[in-house]
Symmetry: C2
Subunit: 123 residues, 2 copies
DNA sequence: TATGGTACTATAAAAAATGTAAGTAATGTC
DNA sequence: GACATTACTTACATTTTTTATAGTACCATA
C-alpha cells in the first residue's frame, strides 16, 4: 500500500502519539489529501469508483485507489465487486464510517466560519 | 515556513479542494503530525513553548516551532513574547481556535470507538 | 478483428513533510 | 570570564505523500 518504514522515527512517533491520543489516531486514519472528501461524498450513500472520480475532478486514478484501499483497510468503507464486464465496484461507508458524519459536518462548519474570520483580518 | 511550490499540481489541487470543500480547508489548517495534539493541550489554557515540548515527548524543537508558526499564521493561536531573559513565550488559542473543541473531542471519541471496533475484527 | 468501457496496476519522478544536529542571543549567577 | 536557561534558527538528510504516464483484463458490440 503506502510504503512506511517501520524503523523510521516518524513511524515510531506516529505510533506513540496514536497510542495515547485518540484524536491523533483518528487523524492518521482520516489523513491524506482526499480521504475526508471521499468520506464526505459517501455520506450520501454508496458510489462507484468512476462516480467518485467525477466528484474529485483532479484526482488521479492511482490516488483514488490508494485512498480507497487505505480507508478499506481501516474499515471505514467496504468495497463490493460485481462480477461483470466492464467491472462494477461500489464503495459504501461502514457503520463506524457513517459515524464520522458529525465530525465532518463540524469541520465543514468550522471551516466556513474560519474563512469568514480570516476575511476580516487584514494580514 | 514550509516550502510549498505554488506552481505544483499538489498546491493547485489543495487550493481547488479547499475552495469548494470547507472540510478539506479545515483539514489543511489542522493538518500536520502534531497540530491537533498541540491544540488539544491548549484547550486547557495557555502554555509556554517548553511546557508544550514536555507534553509532546518526541517532538523536536524544529517541528514544534514549525507547527506553532503554522497555527499562528492561521490565527488558531496567538503567541505572546515577554521581554525577559531567558525568554518566555506563551501560546494560547484564539476564539476560533477554541471552537475546535467539539471537533477534537469528537475525533477523540470516534478514535476510541474505532479502536474498539478494530479490536473485534480479526484481520 | 477492432473498439470501448471500467476499475484498476506498475514504475518513476516530483514535491512535501519530518527528523538530525548544531548553533544563536541575552542576561543573571557562580 | 564560564555556564546555565529558554526559545528559538539554520543547514542538511531522510522519509512519506502525491503526481505523471503508461499500461492491463475482461467481454460485448460493431
Amino acid at each position: 500500500m503506502s510504503q512506511i518504514k517501520e524503523t523510521s522515527t516518524n513511524y515510531a512517533n506516529k505510533q506513540a502519539l496514536a497510542d495515547e491520543c485518540a484524536e491523533a489516531y483518528a487523524a492518521n486514519i482520516m489523513g491524506g489529501q482526499w480521504a475526508l472528501v471521499i468520506c464526505s461524498w459517501l455520506l450520501n450513500g454508496k458510489l462507484r469508483f468512476g462516480e467518485l472520480k467525477k466528484h474529485l475532478p483532479n484526482i488521479t486514478e492511482r490516488m483514488l485507489t490508494l485512498q480507497l484501499r487505505k480507508l478499506e483497510a481501516s474499515h471505514i468503507l467496504k468495497r463490493t465487486v460485481y462480477a461483470q464486464v466492464p467491472p462494477r465496484v461500489e464503495y459504501e461507508l461502514t457503520a463506524i464510517g457513517y459515524e464520522l458524519r458529525p465530525i465532518i459536518k463540524g469541520m465543514e462548519e468550522w471551516g466556513e466560519k474560519h474563512k469568514r474570520v480570516m476575511a476580516t483580518q487584514k494580514d
